[in-house]
Symmetry: C2
Subunit: 158 residues, 2 copies
């Protein structure tokens, strides 16, 4: 179990002031960066990560961070998640808000007691503290963007 | 010329503390909101606005703000822009960064001296102070998301 990456998809530890998220060497000013999309919903220069540490609360989810982990100054992170058929994210809540945009296939998002069907380009705003969970009960991968504030609280499983 | 909306697509005046962007009545806590997408790239509950005031620097651009103008607490705004064939945005620069994601058709983005072809789901990060302009030299509409910080400086035409 050597792979200790981010503890959660939705949480990043507070950065020290003046210290960029870039891990290697001194902070270089960010440069224009085109991330070219492929049919399999990968992007050039963007790695595939697991959703978070295995803790039994989720299944079959991967993450690709397009913007936010390479020294940019933006106050938000843009991430792509993909849930394989039958998979789901953690049922959790947190103070920070979510914006989810369907990108591939379709899936469901439970927010409090409601369930929302998400198809490509459907956009869901999830308010603070609302317990929520994304699921893929279908036969194709369900991919979506999730935009969050760069500084955010750690999710709590519900 | 009664339509005096935002002065620029990329700029919003600083909000007074505690005063939400929502214009009518007292601030209501934001609620879960599904914006259902239609084939014409409109979304339920999202209005179509002009890009900015006519100043001769742009042509044939509309804007739809999905997240950021309805009292949300997020530190970013998510907007959809669409450039008709032959249209273009203002050639401008500003301190805030842009994240552009192709959503419909294809187009071009000039950043400094380079030109980037943007197709659906291609994602472009534009760093601070880089003069940039989006164009649609093709026959179909060119639609893209643009994510920006909620608090940002006013663009300056180049």
């Amino acid at each position: 179990m050597a792979r200790k990456k981010a503890a959660s998809c939705d949480w990043a530890p507070a950065r020290k002031k003046g210290k960029p998220t870039q891990r290697k060497g001194p902070a270089a000013p960010p440069r224009t960066r085109l991330m070219r999309h492929s049919a399999d919903h990968s992007w050039t220069g963007v790695k595939t990560e697991r959703y978070k540490l295995d803790d039994g609360t989720w299944a079959d989810v991967i993450r690709r961070t397009l913007v936010g982990d390479r020294g940019e100054g933006v106050k938000f992170h843009l991430r792509y998640f993909e849930i394989a058929p039958g998979g789901h994210t953690t049922l959790e809540r947190h103070r920070h808000e979510h914006v989810v945009v369907g990108v591939r296939g379709r899936g469901k998002c439970k927010v409090r007691r409601n369930s929302y069907e998400i198809e490509v380009m459907d956009t869901l705003y999830i308010p603070p503290d609302a317990p929520h969970q994304l699921k893929n009960p279908y036969q194709e991968p369900f991919g979506f963007f999730c935009v969050v504030d760069a500084k955010r609280d750690r999710p709590r499983p519900v």
